[in-house]
């Protein structure tokens, strides 16, 4: 029997400032402004619902049906605003297109960018990549910053993959 092949998409949710930012800000400020924790009412369920809605709106019955046949949110963390999605190997482009057009989240219509970071065939590689990435980010924030080990920086590194659910089919 042929194994079910899937792709895992690591994504992050960015909340770009629409209010003007100050003229001279340090590199740490820019990194921290770019990656912010999500509010508590953005749960995995809300997120998945919004993704499904975007797929339905932009790709129609055919596209959304195709992608949603295997669409799972394997991981979501409010602290780091990152998550992992699972889909069929053939439908990864459609899923990414759905994420491309996703502009608002939650009841307050928070305006967001959903930023796909990495696509891989195994969840292990995606996790490792996410950890390396957040380590790099924390190192960048701590370097030369007077406010070393601030709460923000700690939150950036707080990826806990113990909560990732195992695949049922594999």
């Amino acid at each position: 029997m042929v194994r079910l092949k899937s792709r895992y998409v690591l994504f992050e949710v960015l909340y770009p400032q629409t209010s003007p930012s100050s003229a001279d800000s340090s590199r740490e400020d820019i990194v921290l402004r770019g990656h912010r924790p999500s509010p508590a009412d953005i749960t995995g369920k809300v997120l998945l619902q919004e993704i499904r809605r975007s797929l339905q709106l932009h790709l129609g019955d055919y596209g959304s049906g195709k992608v949603c046949s295997l669409l799972q949110l394997k991981y979501w963390s409010n602290n780091t605003s990152t998550g992992i999605l699972r889909c069929h190997r053939e439908d990864v482009d459609l899923l990414l297109t759905g994420l491309f057009f996703l502009r608002e989240l939650g009841n307050d219509n928070l305006r967001v960018i959903v930023n796909p970071v990495k696509v891989s065939g195994t969840i292990k590689k995606v996790e490792q990549y996410a950890m390396r990435r957040s380590d790099r980010m924390v190192a960048l924030v701590r370097k030369g910053s007077a406010r070393a080990a601030t709460d923000d920086a700690l939150q950036l590194s707080n990826n806990n993959f113990a909560s990732v659910t195992a695949d049922a089919q594999d």
Binding site: L14, P16, Q17, T18, S19, P20, S21, A23, D24, S25, S26, R27, I30, V31, R33, G34, H35, H58, V92, D93, L94, L96, T97, L99, F100, F101, R103, R111, V112, I113, N115, P116, V117, K118, V119
Partner: protein, 312 residues
């Protein structure tokens, strides 16, 4: 400018100086509609946060795009021709983030008979682009009547005419790239539908050669990273290697071509500070004074190696 260096440019399939980690956005809207309307501080602040978001999503080279009508009178003072003053406004941002910012002018071409010459204007901008909104404008832009680096279209509206393969491909053959602006697809339903339709016809007419992709972002929320853009273009019928070239190599090539138009001798020799890349060289930035060094070349030498003469 104590050091001169020579850079021979090969054929444009293998650009000599495009490292793979270079991600270019050729179109971020400069918040000004004409030369007569000055830019406000608020607009600049929004633009700054757009640039920060671009940096966050991984872009390394960003081009600010000033769109004006071709028939509008250009200011007579040379200093007023480029109102961006990038170094003054974004110098500190460029230093802290390592982002490189360039300038571009897009001319909206409606009636070619009322247009002006580009000699003066092309000296102060890194890239010159054309946006035809009528059939005659498109003919002018594609037949080489104007010295441009980039052909762009209004993706939110119906195209002015059916795009012919001959005109678009002829344009690409001369080295002018065709731009896809995905910002239109993020605005409203009608524009999105029109965007898909227009991208399909551009891909068909150009046989997906020489396509570059850029954001056209007006605010931070209209920025997407490379993975997302690639997925969008793939669902619209381009192959994945063409997609990755569209905001890497080819876009870098447009930048290089534009820089060399003004800052080199016959697009072959550029005098700079000796940096590896003409695009990144600080000595060639903005209106920096430069000296052109002419070197004589053996005529037999050029005949033997015609490929070395290849113009981009």
């Amino acid at each position: 400018m104590e050091l001169c260096f020579i850079q021979l440019l090969g054929s444009y399939d293998t650009p000599p100086e495009t490292p793979h980690n270079m991600l270019v956005d050729l179109n971020v809207r400069w918040p000004q509609e004409s030369f007569s309307k000055p830019v406000t501080d608020k607009d600049i602040a929004v633009l700054r946060s757009t640039l920060e978001t671009l940096h966050t999503t991984g872009y390394t080279h960003v081009v600010l795009n000033f769109t004006v009508s071709h028939s509008e009178k250009f200011p007579s003072q040379p200093n007023d021709l480029n109102p961006m003053r990038i170094e003054e406004r974004f110098g500190s941002l460029m230093q802290t983030t390592g982002l490189k910012i360039y300038s571009r002018i897009t001319l909206v071409i409606d009636d070619p008979s009322r247009g002006q010459t580009l000699n003066k204007i092309s000296k102060v901008y890194d890239i010159v682009a054309a946006l035809p909104v009528s059939e005659r404008g498109l003919t002018l832009a594609t037949t080489g009547g104007l010295d441009i680096d980039l052909l762009t279209l209004d993706y939110g509206q119906r195209l002015p005419t059916f795009l012919k393969h001959k005109s678009i491909c002829g344009c690409v053959k001369r080295g002018v790239k065709v731009e896809i602006v995905y910002g239109y697809s993020l605005r409203d339903v009608n524009q999105r539908r029109q965007f898909v339709q227009n991208v399909r016809s551009v891909v068909r007419a150009s046989r997906s050669r020489g396509i570059v992709v850029s954001s056209g972002a007006r605010e931070p929320l209209e920025v997407r990273n490379q993975l997302g853009v690639t997925a969008l273009l793939r669902t619209l019928g381009m192959t994945s290697d063409q997609c990755s070239r569209a905001n890497n190599e080819l876009a870098a090539l447009v930048l290089l071509n534009g820089r060399l138009r003004v800052k080199s001798y016959k697009q072959t020799v550029a005098a700079g500070s000796g940096a590896v890349s003409v695009v990144d060289d600080p000595a060639l930035a903005g209106g920096a004074a430069m000296k052109i060094v002419r070197r004589r070349r053996d005529s037999s030498d050029t005949e033997e190696h015609p490929s070395k003469q290849a113009k981009i």
